[in-house]
């Protein structure tokens, strides 16, 4: 029920500016974007969909930096593992 799904805005409906067609993995639904009037989403932008409403926009820059952090951790871990293996081989 508290499900929030990221979806890409395909288009804002011209006759109903409070609705946007949103794509979730090739599946489309008209979503109410009335909660995002301060910064309305445009086609190509991503929103978080909850019970038929877009609750917020997804900030791609924030997402990228978070992933970079996770990747760096992963890299560090890989390095450590490699080091561990080397040390054992010794």
């Amino acid at each position: 029920m508290c499900l929030g799904i990221p979806g890409e805005v395909v288009e804002v409906l011209s006759d109903r500016p409070d609705l946007a067609m949103v794509d979730v993995s090739g599946v489309r639904r008209a979503i109410n974007i009335g909660l995002l009037t301060e910064d309305p989403p445009k086609a190509g932008e991503w929103v978080l969909v909850h019970v038929g409403f877009a609750l917020s926009k997804i900030d791609e820059a924030e997402a990228r930096s978070a992933l970079e952090f996770l990747e760096s951790l992963g890299q560090a871990y890989a390095d450590e593992l490699a080091a561990l293996r080397e040390s054992r081989i010794e």
Binding site: M1, N32, H50, S56, E62, A63, L73, A78
Partner: protein, 375 residues
């Protein structure tokens, strides 16, 4: 799926798990509460505990909106649904929740017209399609969902629809967290803050937790890596002696929330002086009701409901589970008398309920990551 699959990556999870294990002080037990039922669901659905040392315990919180609805409110809704002109609409999660006189499914089998909807807007659509009926929307949920209810009422009012109302059971998260913090029998080391609630209210309202109770809180996303990272951030704060509010879910949650959503809720709803939470009892200023201005859309005023307080079954320990005092399997009836097919308590119903999540997904003998136990 973008913004989903990246956060379900096993390689990154292994790296994070190693960091987490490394941050744990040997011999120290860590107890973090995930407030939100959505988090509980993610944890079990993805097997997240497999990445955690045995010394890190995730304590399930009160943030499953279905779980906190008291039996009396279910009976009230059934009472409304029994009126011949009424179509009661509800999210699927509520359908199986037991009231004192059975669930919505039971009422439906007995002839009440109860339909599942995906969105409150679908309920409004039904009202348009059936001008001769009255459509009631069973509104439940925390601040995540309240704005959609409010927006739907505003839309109904704008369209002049007269055969639609909401049975408002919206609750607010902060009083629930406060009740947990004030309960004497709970020892917690930190909180995983509810991500979706926070898209609406922002991260700021949690500051008192760090400031007044000295507990760290990390607002967490809903993918398993979000949670793992948030646990990592909590452990990091603890290891560094900090107690702050951090926002792991920055891609979605603005620090100040969604002002449009907050305004919509404030326009349509107001705080109730008190509200009964299942298992937690009455909590003051913890729930919303429809304002006088929108009385025409308030099912509680349109229909006189019994409003009877129904005591939970004696064997039910949902209160303890919702407060995190008991693990689901510690409830005496867990998995035997109380199962998803024959739930005694609400926590066994919703996919976000701790008992249901543990029963459905976690009910097997598992071993935690070696790194932790091997230390």
């Amino acid at each position: 799926m973008r913004f989903v699959d990246e956060y379900r990556d096993a390689d990154k999870a292994r790296a994070l798990a190693a960091r987490i294990a490394a941050l744990c002080e040997p011999g120290r037990q860590y107890r973090f509460m995930e407030v939100c039922g959505g988090h509980t669901h993610t944890i079990y659905k993805h097997g997240l505990e497999d990445y955690l040392p045995e010394t890190v315990t995730l304590v399930h919180g009160p943030g499953c909106p279905v779980c906190v609805i008291p039996m009396g409110r279910v009976d009230d809704a059934v009472h409304i649904a029994r009126q011949s002109e009424v179509i009661l609409t509800s999210f699927g999660d509520m359908m199986r929740v037991p009231g004192g006189e059975g669930s919505f499914f039971d009422a439906k089998a007995n002839g009440a017209d109860i339909r599942m909807v995906y969105s409150p807007l679908d309920a409004l659509k039904l009202a348009r399609q059936h001008p001769d009926r009255h459509v009631v929307f069973m509104a439940i949920g925390f601040e995540t969902t309240a704005p959609s209810t409010a927006m739907t009422v505003l839309r109904a009012a704008a369209e002049g629809i007269t055969n639609f109302s909401v049975f408002c059971n919206h609750v607010t998260i902060i009083p629930a967290i406060k009740a947990i913090l004030d309960s004497p029998d709970l020892r917690l080391d930190g909180f995983l803050g509810p991500g979706h609630v926070s898209t609406v209210i922002g991260a700021r309202p949690y500051e008192f937790i760090a400031a007044e109770y000295g507990k760290p809180l990390v607002v967490a996303g809903f993918e398993p890596l979000d949670l793992l990272q948030s646990i990592y951030l909590l452990l990091k704060q603890l290891s560094e002696g900090r107690a702050e509010v951090e926002n792991q879910y920055r891609r979605v949650v603005p620090w100040d929330g969604n002002p449009v959503a907050l305004r919509a809720v404030a326009e349509v709803m107001e705080l109730r002086p008190y509200f009964e939470w299942r298992g937690l009892g009455f909590i003051s200023h913890s729930a919303l009701r429809v304002r006088d201005t929108y009385a025409a859309f308030d099912a509680e005023r349109r229909f006189t409901v019994p409003g009877v307080r129904v005591a939970d079954p004696k064997s039910c320990q949902c209160g303890e589970v919702l407060k995190g005092v008991l693990k689901p399997w510690e409830c005496k009836v867990f998995g035997t008398a109380c199962t998803p097919e024959t739930p005694i308590g609400t926590c066994m119903v919703s996919p976000e309920g701790a008992c249901a999540a543990y029963y459905n997904f976690g009910r097997f003998t598992r071993s935690r990551v070696k790194e932790a136990t091997a230390r």
